[in-house]
Structures are given as C-alpha cells and as structure tokens.
C-alpha cells in the first residue's frame, strides 16, 4: 500500500457495495473515515506508511450497512463510484460518499490481508 509519488499505484482491491440506510432524513452508510491530503498522516493508526494521505476506514458501526457489506476497520478506500479517493481532501471524500441522490455506493478498498491472500493463492 505504499506509493511513490508520480508512479502509478497498484494494489489488490476488494469491491464492496453498500446500500445506504435511511434514518430519518439522512442516508447513512455506517462507518467513519479519516485521512485526506489536508490531514496529518502521522496520526493514522491503520496505515503502514505514515506518509500515506489516503482515506481510511476508522470505525464501522456494528450491524450497519457497511459491516453487512463486508467493510472492515482499517481499510483504505481507493475509489468511490469511480471517483478516486487516494488524492482527495477529507471534505471531498465525505462529499463523495454522502451524495443525497445516490442509494448505493460501490467502493474499492484495499487491505493488507488481501495481498497476502493473493500471494498464498498464487503459490
């Protein structure tokens, strides 16, 4: 999950489709995000490389739509509905996830265990 600026990023990703849940007048997804290019990357407990300014999942509410869809804490969000999430500010990420006219968000997330699983399966 480390990246070199200027080089294309390659990662093993998992496609997660989350259906938003209507609670009152809000559509919630059931997880919290942290990170962004305007944030302090050193405080991120989930990232391997402490200069990684990507968007990470910091909390998943139990029994929420995100957990049901298979999102786990510590995942790095790479894409939301086709929009890139590796080089966005925190606020832009929030906006992409909470569009009122979308019911479903399709995320591409990556985590360490995915790479290891691929390695094991290739051996």
């Amino acid at each position: 999950m480390s990246f070199i600026p200027g080089q294309p990023v390659t990662a093993v990703v998992q496609r997660i489709e989350i259906r938003k849940l209507r609670q009152g007048e809000h559509l919630i997804l059931g997880f919290s995000i942290g990170g962004g290019i305007d944030q302090d990357p050193g405080q991120n407990p989930f990232s391997e490389d402490k200069s990684d300014k990507g968007i990470y999942v910091t909390r998943v509410t139990p029994e929420g739509p995100a957990e049901v869809a298979g999102l786990m804490m510590g995942d790095k969000v790479m894409q939301v509905n086709g929009w890139d999430m590796t080089m966005v500010t925190h606020d832009q990420a929030r906006k992409r996830l909470t569009k009122k006219n979308e019911d479903v968000v399709r995320l591409l997330v990556t985590r360490k265990s995915l790479e290891q699983a691929v390695k094991h399966s290739m051996m």
Binding site: S32, D40, Q43, T58, H90, R94
Partner: protein
Amino acid sequence: MDNESQYSGYSYKSSHSRSSRKHRDRRDRHRSKSRDGSSRGDKSVTIQAPGESLLDAESTRGDDRDDNWGETTTVVTGTSEHSVSNEDLTRVSKELEESSPLECKRFLGPVLGGCLGLFALVTPLAFLVLPQLLWREALEPCGTPCEGLYVSLAFKLLVLLISSWALFLRPPRVTLPRFFVFRCLLMVLVFLFVASYWLFYGVRVLEPRERDYRGIVEYAASLVDALLFIQYLALVLLEVRHLQPAFCLKVVRATDGASRFYNVGHLSIQRAAVWVLDQYYRDFPVYNPALLNLPKSILSKKMSGFKVYSLDENSTNNSTSQSRAMIAAAARRRDNSHNEYYYEEAEMDRRCRKRKARLVVAVEEAFTHIKRLHDDDPAGSSHKHPREVMDPREAAQAIFAPMARAMQKYLRTTRQQPYHSMESILTHLQFCITHNMTPKAFLERYVSPGPTMQYQRENGRGRQWTLVSEEPVTSALRQGLVFSLRRLDFSLVVTVQPLPFLRIGEEFIDPKSHKFVMRLQSETSV
C-alpha cells in the same frame, strides 16, 4: 612491626599533611615489601596475593588511627627524644622534598628587572641634569619651549612609573624551568635601548660639551617616548596576546580520572602549565588517595588464583606453557567480581547516605542551641534569667560536642578524615557562627570534596611540580601536543587541541513570517 608502637602515641592534633604522609609512607613501604616478595624464586612461577597487606593497611588500620577525638582522648607518649626512627627519617626527607628551599633564584629575575627599570627611568633625568652640573655656564639659555618639554617629560615619566608599578611590580608566584622568553626579550630590548642612548649621549654630548640645551631636552624626551613604546610592547606581549582563546586544553588527573577542559590563547608550554595549575587548584576536587582502591573484599577474591610450582629445573620452556594454561584456566573460571563490586558500591553509598543523614540532623539540632544576642535583648531578659554571654569560639566549643561523633563517623566513611582535624572543624564552626550561617552552609565544606585550595595551609615554600614534556618547554602550544605535570604521587596529563574555525553565516527572518496552522486529524462518520 617495630613501628607499631609509635602510632598510638600521636595525639589528635596531627595536621592533615602529616597524616597523609603517613598514609603514603605506609603504602610505599608495603608496596616495596610486596615487590621483594615476588622477585624471590625466579625458577618457579608463583602467583601470590600481594594486595592483601596493602589494603589492610589502608582500610582497617585507617579506622583506629589517631583521629579518635570524638570518642576517646589520647595521651601523648611518643618516642624518646634521642631516637630517630625510620618513620621520622622518611618524614623529614619528605618534608625536605615538599618544600623547595628558599631559593635565591626565585628573586633573581625580578631583582634584575627592577634594577634595569630603575636605571631606565633615571636615565632621562640624568641626561637633563648632567649638562647643568658640568658646564652650566656654556649652555645656551632655553626658555619657553624647554619648559614645555619639561612638563611633558614629567608627565610621561609619571605615567611610566605608575604603569610599571601596575604591571610589573608584583611578587613572583612562579619559578619556571626555562627562561620566560618574552620577558627576557623585553629586558634585552630595554637594555639595548638605554645603552645605545647612553652611548650616543656620551659620544655626542658629553665629549664635545654640546651647548644646545634644547636638543638635549628633546633627546631625553625621545628616550621617554621610546620607553613608553617598549612598555606598550611589554603589555601586549605579556598580558594581552594570550587572552584571545585559541586552544582547548584537556587536563586529566592520572590517578582518578578527574578531567576539565580549558580555553587558552597562544602561550608557551611552561606558561600554559602555570595557567593550568592555577585552574587546577581551584577546579579539581582534592586528590584523596584513600578513594582509589577497590574494596578489599573484591580484590582479595580476585587475587586468590592458582599457585603453580615447577619442580623441574631444566625445563624452562615448560613455564610458558604452564602460565598459559593458568591464564586459560583463570579465564574459564566464572568471574563474579563485577557483581561484588556493584553490591559493594551500593552498600557503600547507602552507608554514606545514612551517616550523612545522621550528621545533618545532629548539626541542625546543635545549631538550635545557640542564638545571636542582639543589643536590645539584655534589657528584657536580664532580670528573668541571666544568660551567659559567649564569644564565637566558646559558642562553637559548646555546640561541638553533640555533633562530634556524627561528624567523625561521616568523615571516616567518606575517607576525608585526614583533611579535617578537630581544630579545623572548630575553627570552621566558629567562622560559620560568626557570619550567621545555617547548618547547611556549615556542612557544605564536608559534604563534597572541595578544591585543593581549600586545604592549603599557608606555606611560604611553595608546591613543587615537574613539567614533563617531549618538546622544549619554551615552544608554543600547537595541535596534538601532550605534556604532563607531575607531583610526588599523582600527575596531570594535558592534551592540546586547537579550537575549531567557526564559519558564522547570517539568516534574516522576517518577524511577520511566523505563521502556524493546526494539524488536522478529523474523523467523519458517513
């Protein structure tokens, strides 16, 4: 030992130097004994324990030495007046060594310089006075210009006199092994100047009986100017040049590793040595030979090694293999002495702190027993119960008794008892009482070992130091030079290093450029 009977006879009033010399004597004698012991039997390889007797003398004997003033009184019996024991002989010879005899060499330099200076100062006056005495009638009268010159001459001579007094008229504190090059140079210069002026004067003025008195006065004024310039040169060479720091000297005491760093300027080795010694007496804690030895419990265990006897007289080549086998065996044996050393040190620390706590409490309590009598007190208290008014000495003696034992025990634990006799403690107590010091201020002298200056007695003879150096001692300091200053039982090793060349750049910061932002780490739930 035949000398044992003497030690019980010395009273508590021995000065610190005598008892420290006894230390040294006993230690040196024991050392020589052990050396003789190991040289016996050159055919066999013996490893004995030479350290046993040495340490016994230091640590056990030291406890029942003559400083029992806290517990018992001692009676002066002493040896008879006609017998001179070995101890006395060594003491006398050491005393002779300690104090350098009142050498005339010490005063030769200053006396010579003084004569030369006086001669130089008197010369202009002589130049003026001689024509007046010898051929006054033939002289041309010289009015106002001469009087002006007289005034300037007088003031310049006065300035010369005062500055010579300020700069040069000081009692000599040091005897250097070689000539002080700059001083010699200046004296030679002054001598040459004055001599050449006299020469010229003698040939051109006295011989033909010169009649132009104004010229003579101007000549004398020029001599005084030249003397002022030489004095300026002396000031720069002797006092000012070495003030700008150029070298860093590391001074390490060879016996216990106490070290300091000093910055000095451009000096010759002997002048740098003098400077280092001045700082040594002020900065280094006093050299205490009793603190050097490891506790005997550790060393004795270490020294009890193997004894190997070689019975075969012919086989000299076997001895090396045997010694090698021994060393290998010793190395394989588990060496636990570091463990013992650690615990011994911890124990020593604890003991020291405990005794110090007792001492502090005793002193604090003792100090509460007296208070200063103010002038307005007697009217109020005199009719209640007349208190006995004491002077500081009596007050000190009165409160010394309760703290004496604690003090003696503490000094013994920290091995400081040779440096403080009962008399010196009483004097110090009296001093502290007189100046309204607190118990903590009184104890500051005993709690930490002070600089050597604190323990100096007034000695007109001076301290003997030997400067050991591979380069001639009048050469200037330069990088990598090492010299050492040796005394009888320890030495200071001095290493010279130049101070680094500093390249200082400049960076301007606009005061308005100090701006800050918060580091964000927000978490949003979606």
